[in-house]
């Protein structure tokens, strides 16, 4: 490659798109490093505290698309206090000051203020795409700024954010000249919007392919929107309630027949089961169906719908579909790759909606299954062993038994053997979440067999430090490890400190790690930030090294301690 001029090498690099590959390419030699960094347009930063915006800007002057992640994953489950961090403002401020022509920003678990959004909207004339997932800190005023100021906006995608709703003028802020929208998702907003504005917006957006509405958009508006946008590929329905004998409903049925490009269907934030039949005509082409937010649909309703969806590749559904319903999925959806079954009432253990039986049926019927998230009331070793025989392609396997220490109800044994079978037969497994009664044995199996594992989530499992050590020693590709309520302590934490430099992060909460061990680790490994989250009233200097730390989060970084940590986060 040294014989070719830089432009040729750069042209070759254009074909290398994955982040991992580009990162590898940049390590080959100084010349490639230089060519790569000038030609790089998309950068992914998995932990916003691992690097500073200044260094990002210095290295990649051609940056167009930035993805940033902030809080640790367990923040999704209320384990990370408010104000912990993950603020996007410094990033936007630094980028705005630079010459970077940012076009796309994708954030996950970050704190986004209205000021950030406003600055973003005014600083980058070519800005095209904003995707916010599980973020918080902004209101609809910030969204309005984006709508008003981003003249070439193509994508505004708000997924599961906590947004303070100042009631709906934001939609009217899209200027009449804005006709470039391709994707608009505001399903997570709670408040009213101006329906007429929405209709006009959709009418003047000929490229609109993805539209996800919020709960307040009624069925008759839906019908009007679909009339304007029969080219939609991805639809998220807001409210889906009407009298089936009404004229509006007939119109809806008619217009849905014309929407034969729809491949992905979600939402149903309010739904009347008797209206579902109108959807049937588009079911046969669906590849993604997400009914996990739909309240009040019974197992029968779900089953009848799923029976029409022969081409489904991804299904997100509530556990009220039941084991029998999953059997119908198994016999209908032969193309199924990803299944997520969510609990409809996480605190109610009385109504056992899905059990190991449903999972076994799915494993037997869906040969392409590679990704699973399954909330159930019980699981057996026999079932997991059967699943492991049937499915050897899992990339993601996340099993959540609602009682976190429940053993195999038939044999009263821990679920070590079952999970052991899963990791043994699924050699490509990258992500694993465990639950149920588990001893150190399961970790032995994971360390032995899960050689490609990148992310592991553990709760209420194990007997001793050995468990954690098996994983740290055996899983060579491990990047993220998150542990809660396990008896792992200092010995496991400190055995191989260099290991954490090969990982993105480690979370341990309610384990047996002491303050002293954390201090030792922080001292010996300057390339790691070791953070303690302390929500008790006690002050740092009054605590003994033997103090059991409640929450510890450590991550590798190139830039030392962060400057924005709140008082209750101790940076060791």
């Amino acid at each position: 490659m040294n014989y070719f001029p830089d432009e040729v090498v750069e042209h070759v690099f254009d074909f290398i798109t994955s982040h991992k590959d580009r990162n590898s390419v940049s390590l080959v030699c100084k010349s490639w490093y230089k060519i790569e960094r000038y030609s790089r347009q998309r950068v992914f930063i998995g932990n916003c505290y691992s690097i500073t915006p200044q260094r990002l800007i210095a290295r990649f002057p051609g940056l167009k698309s930035l993805t940033l992640k902030g809080k640790p994953h367990f923040a999704d489950f209320n384990l990370v206090p408010h104000d912990w961090g993950g603020f996007v403002y410094p990033w936007i401020k630094a980028l705005a000051k630079s010459k970077i022509g940012l076009e796309e920003l994708r954030l996950k678990r970050m704190v986004v203020s209205d000021d950030s959004l406003e600055l973003l909207s005014k600083s980058f004339p070519n800005f095209k795409s904003l995707v916010l997932v599980s973020c918080e800190g902004f209101t609809t005023d910030g969204v309005a700024a984006i709508a008003a100021n981003c003249r070439f906006l193509r994508e505004l995608d708000l997924q599961e954010n906590e947004v303070e709703d100042h009631r709906g003028h934001w939609l009217s802020c899209f200027p009449e000249s804005c006709t470039s929208l391709v994707s608009l998702n505001f399903a997570c907003l709670k408040g009213e919007i101006n329906l007429a504005s929405l209709e006009r917006l959709v009418a003047r957006s000929p490229n609109l392919k993805s539209l996800r509405l919020n709960r307040v958009v009624p069925l008759d508006t839906l019908q009007k929107l679909l009339m304007r946008a029969p080219q939609l590929v991805d639809l998220g329905i807001g409210s889906y309630v009407d009298d089936p004998s009404s004229e509006v409903f007939s119109k809806l049925k008619a217009v849905i027949q014309l929407c034969n490009s729809i491949r992905s269907l979600s939402g149903f934030l309010e739904v009347a089961p008797w209206c579902m039949s109108a959807i049937y005509p588009i079911c046969e082409n669906l590849t993604f169906l997400n009914l996990s937010y739909a309240p009040g649909l019974q197992g029968n309703d779900l089953t009848k719908l799923v029976q029409q969806c022969r081409k489904l590749q991804r299904l997100w559904i509530l556990d009220c579909i039941g084991d029998k319903g999953l059997g119908v999925v198994a016999s209908t959806c032969k193309e199924l790759q990803e299944l997520r079954v969510f609990p409809s009432d996480p605190y109610d253990a009385e109504n056992a909606a899905v059990t190991e039986e449903g999972l076994v049926l799915i494993s037997a019927g869906c040969p392409k299954l590679n990704s699973l998230l399954y909330f159930c009331h019980q699981m057996t070793n026999a079932a997991l062993i059967t699943v492991a025989r049937n499915c050897t392609n899992f990339i993601r396997f996340r099993l959540c038994i609602l009682d976190p220490v429940k053993a195999d109800p038939v044999t009263n044994q821990p679920l070590d053997e079952g999970f052991g079978a899963i990791v043994r037969s699924n050699k490509s497994l990258k992500r694993l979440s465990l639950s149920g009664h588990l001893t150190d044995q399961v970790f032995l199996y994971i360390g032995m067999y899960a050689k490609k594992l990148e992310m592991l989530s553990i709760a209420f499992a194990g007997d001793s430090n050995k468990g954690m050590l098996y994983v740290l020693n055996g899983c060579k590709k491990l990047r993220k490890l998150e542990i809660r309520d396990c008896p792992f302590g200092d010995v496991a934490l400190l055995q191989d400190m260099g290991k954490y430099e090969t990982m993105r992060s480690l979370w341990m909460s309610s384990c047996k790690v002491t303050l002293g061990a954390c201090k030792t680790l922080a001292k010996k490994m300057p390339s790691l930030n070791v953070e303690i989250i302390n929500e008790s009233e006690q002050l740092e200097f009054s605590l003994d090294d033997r103090f059991l730390v409640d929450k510890m989060y450590l991550y590798r970084t190139l830039v030392g301690h962060r400057k924005d940590a709140p008082e209750y986060v101790w940076l060791l």
């Binding site: 303070e164 253990a349 059967t386 053997e417 396990c486 384990c511 047996k512």
Partner: protein
């Protein structure tokens, strides 16, 4: 049961369930398969473990386990006390009717109001909204500052009735858990709250 493509379904009784035969024997030589100590395996926060007492290697496991599970079932409350479990993102109110209107009573007001708890993301938002609604009163806020109403010098404690019928102080549990269990709200005059022994205000996690 068998399916067309020969994949295995659960092997039901063909001469009794023989799990030993199906169990993987992957342990290192000499390693015990199960620990004898069933007690010390859980971490320091033992919300669930207090109620479930598993003893491994017992000959008669079903009796003990059944008993423990019965004990656990008797105290379902302890299951809901474990923060962050199940690991379902709290924001996603899956499967629930998405309106949660509850009555709000204020001591001394002639009529009640209703609020939809689903419209708020945090305690702070709810209390601010209640203050707006009952604009002549002020509610003792979460920072424990004494906000005495200018007009008539009365302070109010926000309380709610939960699913069990008990009257609770607003703010102790994570927001989503509160929305789940709240049946109605009452703003109680602080003078009546004497004797509840409340020295510190609860720490509201305002975005939970």
């Amino acid at each position: 049961m068998s399916s067309e493509n020969g994949k295995r379904l659960l092997e039901t009784d063909a001469g009794g369930l023989n799990f030993e035969a199906t169990e993987l024997t992957l342990g290192l030589p000499g390693e015990p398969r199960v620990t004898s100590d069933g007690g010390a395996k859980l971490g320091s926060k033992r919300g669930i473990s207090e109620t479930v007492d598993l003893k491994l290697g017992d000959n008669n496991p079903e009796v003990k386990l059944g008993h423990s599970l019965q004990e656990a079932a008797k105290s379902p409350v302890s299951k809901t006390q474990v923060v962050g479990w199940p690991p379902v993102r709290g924001f996603a109110k899956r499967g629930k009717k998405s309106c949660k209107y509850v009555k709000v009573a204020v001591d001394g007001a002639p009529y009640l109001r209703k609020v939809d708890l689903e419209m708020y993301n945090s305690y702070q938002q709810l209390l601010t909204s209640l203050e707006d609604m009952f604009s002549c009163f002020t509610i003792r806020n979460y920072l424990n500052e004494k906000k005495i109403d200018q007009v008539n010098g009365i302070e109010y404690m926000p309380t709610y009735e939960d699913k069990d019928g008990d009257w609770m102080l607003v703010g102790d549990v994570p927001w989503q858990m509160f929305v789940e269990s709240c049946k109605r709200l009452r703003l109680m005059k602080s003078s009546e709250a004497v004797g509840l022994g409340l020295k510190t205000a609860p720490k509201y996690s305002s975005t939970n």
